[in-house]
Amino acid sequence: MSTIRVKFRKGSEVKFISHLDMMNTFQRAARRAGLEAEYSQGFNPQMQMVFGAPLSLGFTSEAEYADLSFAVEYDPKFILERLGRQLPPGLELLGAAKRIVKKNIMADISYTEYTFTISGAEDIEDLAELVMSYESLPVEKVRKGKARVVDIKPMIVRFYTKGNTGSLLGAGGNEKNLNPKLLAKAISARLGRDIEFININRSNQFVERNGAMFDPISTEAMETE
């Protein structure tokens, strides 16, 4: 029995595939690859797979992660090759490593980074500088039908813009999660105009170890708690 963490790209071919459907796609790919997965107990046995934070529909990503549990020991390289061959165009495995830490990917992610194109702010010289100068950035967030106002400023670690492109490093994971669309909404509300982030791509996700950020598949992340 082994758990292998894979890192993968979700390209534009599959950016309209929902998180749930993508998980299903991985399960079917694993079955086509003839891999012996670990199954859950019970009425409807499911393959044991844990995916990282869901990516919004329409976003692409260079840094998605999943922890796949198998009934037998597999070499990560073997998984990379065998599973990789069965994934449809747009889903591409970028790395695989044996997970030693207990925490699964879903619980471990602390930060995410996105890149995007900005539209509607062409006349603002440095949008990021302007936004970072604000003390707070309140925005209305709707969750389970209830709207509440949250300040997302503390969730921004780094926001950077150049011309019409931008990148955002912010809180990510189970507890706090900063979606670039929410930031665009907050800025639009603050400036009283429509600013949109398009072609949003998740470029990185990080786990935290001793106050530093690491790629979830790096040795540091996988071998130290």
Binding site: V14, D21, T25, Q27, A29, R31, R32, N44, P88, P89
Partner: protein
Amino acid sequence: MRRGTEGNDMPVYIDDKILMGVEKPARYTGGEVNSVIKDHESIGVKFAFCFPDVYEVAMSHLGGQILYSIINDRADSLCERIFAPWTDMEKAMRENKIPLFSLETKTAASDFDCLGFTLQYEMSYTNILNMLDLAGMKVRRQDRGEDMPLVCAGGPCAFNPEPLADVVDFFLIGEGEEKIHSILDILAKKLKKSETLVILSEIEGIYVPGIHNRKDEPKVRKVLIKDLNSAPYPEKPIVPYINIVHDRTMMEVFRGCIRGCRFCQAGFIYRPVREKTPDRLIEEATRKLDSTGYDDISLASLSTSDYSGLTELTDRLIDLTDKRNIGLSLPSLRADNFSMELMDKVQKVRKSGLTFAPEAGTQRLRDVINKNVTEEEMLRTAEIAFKGGWTTMKLYFMLGLPTETMEDVKGIADLAWKIKQMYRQHGNVSKKQLSLTVSTAFFVPKPFTPFQWERQITVPEMIERQKYLYDLLKKANIRYNWHDYKLSHMEGIVSRGDRRLGQAVIKAWEKGCRFDGWAEYFDYDKWMEALGECGIDESEYTGERTEEEDLPWDFIDIGVRKKFLLDERKKAYDNVTSSNCREECLACGAACFGGGICFEHNQG
């Protein structure tokens, strides 16, 4: 080349914003595992398989997967899929002037050589018109020029092609696998449309409304696959990203049905019964599971438990599925030959609910429709199932069958009640409550059945019978699902329609009708207006037909003789049942095809 669009077809551009604004955008993006993309520049015949319903329904259709693989296996042809966009996407497409496009390469529908629609259900006809319109094509064939693709249609409803005869250029009557190669060979010649149609009209099974005269002899005879074991099956079915209606590996165990229930069109148009061997099916299952990665496999046929090799097949399938953690389901079981042994097998991996279709509530009426199942058998089945721990059962019935009285309607509630009592006696192993559901649909007289002359009960009668049953089941505290009587009434009108009725279908579409099979979009009033404006009295279509009159579909020959259907009708009125094909040959006429059970019989 016949067409103006030589060489590369320009893909249709669909902006992300449009896809972000619609429900389930993956319905329109393609790219699924096992979908086939070919280079348009080097291919001779570009065929589009068109299904006039939404993606999830379209992708559940086994026949489409079969045609898709046969055509794409040819080096000179390609097949792409085009489905009806859901109403939100249709709106976005019309607003942004996006033409109907294929899933594989986003090629405009009008850039294909031939659009092939499958007619699974009469109430999808307006969707066909809507798809043609979205493609920028005129709905009437006579209004479409040389620059537009040929439109063909097949599937069960093509056995009565007349309602769509002004729309479709040619129909294929029967099983598509058989003649698709001849059609592609002719299309590959790239002749003018009119010349192509003349050549097509000479092929068996093809009906060209612009050429054939309905009085012509010989009639248009259906085509079929004589030996299913040598027929191709899709080794690599497309695996959708999103959940579809039948999200599993589907296995066609046999084609046709030995039973001959007198209301059932499939039971006659697919005669004779042709089975696949267990060997062939195990090979097929293995390949399909390997190529799809599905975790569920289902045996699909009209009445799966009638398969002669069922024990061997299920044993061998279970060997296969157990090892791989795969679920096996057997729909279409009959209540008369259901065994504990079989049930143990299907519940071994995953246990689902049981569904039975007694169709009628009293023995008298079951004899009328030739549903050879007795109350005793059904109760025995329920007993076995409940003792085996089953807690969910669904029962399907029909209301409005010929000769039905209120006594027969009451029989439905009585039977359900007896089953409920059976559970109290035998079923409380798990202390769980029985989940029993009764569902009813209204009888729709269909062409090529012994009941093709029958009247459909009127709307007030439908309401009365449904209400009566509703009250009875409510008293018995049994869950009841029913079909919309308005939709059944409309289906009754279209099913036995002719060319004149086809004008009303076009009119209904012009008034905005589409997705008629979906309760939220079905607009009965618009349909009624359309009929009125075409000067059609609906009772001409729902009423009883005389045995002497020429029926709109009489020019098609399904092998089964009209005389046989008439004899069966007479037997129905005398409450006399008929043997099934395995017990005894009744010489219906289907032996003319030279294959299937008709010949197993003679040898035995």
